[in-house]
Amino acid sequence: MRHFLKRHQTLILAVLLLLAMLLVYSFNLRQKSATTLLERVVLAVTEPLQAALTLSGRSVGALWTRYLWLIETQEQNLALSRENRELRASLQGVSETRLENQRLRKLLDFVETDPRPVLPAMVVAEDASSWARTIVIDKGALQGVREGLPVVVAEGVVGRVIKVAPGSARVLLVIDASSSVAGLVQRFRTRGVARGNGRGLTFEYALRDETVQVGDLIITSGMGGLFPKGLVLGYVTQVQRTDASLFQQIELHPDLDFSRLEEVLVLLEPPP
């Protein structure tokens, strides 16, 4: 037995390590909302470094895009000129703009009516992988942040807090493939679930017979209790109905650029 163990010690070590890691992974899958000691320590230690590096990275990025990487500038100029002409034309439809104003004001009412205090935070880092979409913010447990709290900006939902360290927290963006938020079509009140797909969102489980049109605004429904009702998730860009499926296939375009997030708001728990 001893001879066997000695002879195959490397293989045994490898298999044991692999099994141990599988156990750790499956345990953590069940404890998704809990932040482990390792995560807490590493996040706490690296947050100041990440903040400093992000600031310098943004300066380098700004230098690069403003002065060196000018390949798309002419195209952008043309696009902006075109957009300008379109905007001039659309200004004539003042009544339409007024209606849109009313709709947007209604959407922003939640800030006044929601009793939750709001905590502003700065984005200090992004996800290290090419497939997951998370960010790190510079506010953590010491400032009242805890797992599950919603994170928003003026343009709509950003995501929810999944890991918390004393001075920082990680936020799972709504466009992450593992994120899903209960939503509804604002105009027709059609219910569904907005799921991330890495770049944008898809609106699932909207019944085939329900009315949804391109351009419709999708907002959070408040179901599940995580996100308050009425936050913007995105606009419908594509609707597909097939006889084979009970549900429609709806693509959403979020109204914010997740790769350019700098400041966000954490909706803290309402005071007791």
């Binding site: 992974y25 690296t46 380098v60 990025g61 992004e126 497939w131 593992s178």
Partner: protein, 178 residues
């Protein structure tokens, strides 16, 4: 102990770069996976037990900075280490090109293991689609970064007075008499 600490610090610096500076200027699919390059290098260069522990620990470190569940990258990096070790025992690891080939194999392996684990244990959703779409860009970027880092390392090594030449030679000569 010194090597373990040095490798871990190197991994931490790589993670900080990936999550901050690279994130500021590059889209997610064009950010090189520096930790994968480090694991492939260590797998060729260090003893079995040391490299296995480092791969697991560096994977756990990557888990802290990406995804939602601790353990996913720890398993993935450990499996990449095993794959590299399996090949390294059978091939001529003195070749620089081999490290790059192993890096490509590691990138593919990473995508496959992550897809498999997410499909098996969690709700993979659109992750498979994202992984497949970003794989060609990831392969290219990892190869390019690996090539640059390897050349840099081979130039720096003599200045530091450490071992000369490609990774893997000490291991190969010690264990196989190459």
């Amino acid at each position: 102990m010194r090597v373990l600490l040095l490798s871990f610090c190197c991994g931490l610096i790589f993670m900080l770069l990936q999550t901050t500076l690279f994130a500021a200027v590059l889209p997610p699919e064009l950010r090189p996976n520096l930790l994968l390059i480090l694991v492939v290098y260590l797998s060729l260069n260090e003893s079995f037990s040391r490299a296995a522990l480092l791969a697991t620990f560096l994977g756990a470190l990557q888990d802290v900075f990406s995804g939602t569940t601790l353990g996913l990258y720890a398993i993935t990096q450990l499996m990449i280490f095993m794959l590299v070790r399996l090949f390294a025992a059978r091939l001529n690891v003195e070749s620089r090109r081999l490290l790059l080939i192993l890096l490509s194999a590691g990138t593919l392996m990473q995508a496959v293991v992550i897809s498999f684990l997410l499909a098996l244990f969690a709700d993979a959703g659109a992750v498979l689609q994202i992984l497949i779409l970003s794989l060609p860009a990831q392969l290219l970027v990892n190869l390019l970064t690996g090539f640059v880092l390897l050349n840099l390392l081979l130039k720096v090594q003599p200045l530091l007075g450490t071992r000369l030449g490609m990774a893997g030679i000490p291991y190969q000569s010690k264990h196989h008499g190459a």
